[in-house]
Symmetry: C2
Subunit: 244 residues, 2 copies
Amino acid sequence: MAQAAQTGQCADCPIRHRAVCSKCDADELRELEAIKYYRTFEAGQAVIWAGDDMGFVASVVSGVATLTQTMEDGRRQMVGLLLPSDFIGRPGRTRAAYDVTATTQVILCCFRRKPFEALMVDTPHIGQRLLEMTLDELDVAREWMLLLGRKTAREKIATLLAIFLRRGGGIPGPSLTSREFDLPLTREAMSDYLGLTLETVSRQMSALRKAGVIELVGSRHVRIPDIARLMEETGDDSDGGMLV
Amino acid sequence: MAQAAQTGQCADCPIRHRAVCSKCDADELRELEAIKYYRTFEAGQAVIWAGDDMGFVASVVSGVATLTQTMEDGRRQMVGLLLPSDFIGRPGRTRAAYDVTATTQVILCCFRRKPFEALMVDTPHIGQRLLEMTLDELDVAREWMLLLGRKTAREKIATLLAIFLRRGGGIPGPSLTSREFDLPLTREAMSDYLGLTLETVSRQMSALRKAGVIELVGSRHVRIPDIARLMEETGDDSDGGMLV
DNA sequence: CGACGTGTTGATTCCTGTCAATACTCGTGG
DNA sequence: CCACGAGTATTGACAGGAATCAACACGTCG
């Protein structure tokens, strides 16, 4: 994993074919390579705070980070979950709009903002890919809005677990009857994602366990004995929402 | 308003400088003009249903439309509020992901999808502008997620009214001490926006009225005697969230 | 006038939040 | 080796805010 962080070669990069650079040809890649550098953040560390000056944009190479918004009185809502290949920052924006925090160890492939923006002007493939990725994020955000506005606590938990099942433990092949994975989020981070309190998250996890929908090994490892059963609990239509 | 819908001339179009075409030069505009056509929808009419085949993409020229998602059991969540200059549809996507409904009379400037996508390839200005607009929409969606996940019913209502104050009745100059506007949404549509029931919306509107935060003329016309007071009720920081 | 769509208000329920006590895990240091 | 503490997680008791169920008011249009 993350060999590129050691070799520095884009060709070896694990996110080469999905990140913002995925449409670039060899020439374009060489230009990107010239302005990129890697940074590592430990679990729990802040990548950047809302309002900070954003000197760079970046791709997540490995690990999980979150985008969160905080109100004056401390209420917090996660608004983005950043997995490998996801993009951080917005071209043209100098100050960060959200807090970015590493929830596991995270390796970022950073580009200084100014040169990156300059590159976007005469390298259409970057802008094209960024548009695709932003449109995808918008779809994710809208699905998330349905969850926040209309789903019950139990449905919210089931939906989040289903998301991890698809994206998180997602590298092994699709064995459609049983799968398991480690939660990359604490109960508190899950509550920030779902618009719940951490107590309610804990209670609903227990409820799903007692109902046999999930099995827990420790508090962070989850096994799903019957995926279809979990899907029923999400409140989504049975087909799994195949709009992609 | 919407003279372009009569003359067909982009130069006269009220959204010429803000819509997806705003960065286009005269040549590019001529190409767009060749594939565009106008359509009008009456209040309450469906523009398109989720799952329908999307033969076109479009800009809202005038009026207000909504993007909504519906769960099997009927629970509904609005996920987009489309005002003049906003864009409908996603290049590359053949089927609509959400229901689009006109809540007032709406005029759309439509482009057949295939020619529009072809145009995007060799007309970088369209893609660039669409990227900007999509990034803005993503910010809006994330602000909306904070509202849905963490705000109280009263704060939700106050926030929605503040949004209309900025964007809806927003054409007259910034008289920062008193303003008024017509609500473009029914109580039910407001509840879909806010993740509440229509009864709760009605109750909180009454509560804000009794508290002197708003004045109601009929049920749809709102007057804000003290904007700062309304802002306090939104739960946002005092500066009004100036990240744009 | 009566029907319909829209909006308001009341009574009651119940889901989730709040406050609080208690485990569990993991590292550090005596 | 075990005590200690910090961070994380579970569970209980209780309160409160929004949902639900229901009745009624208002305006428009036939």
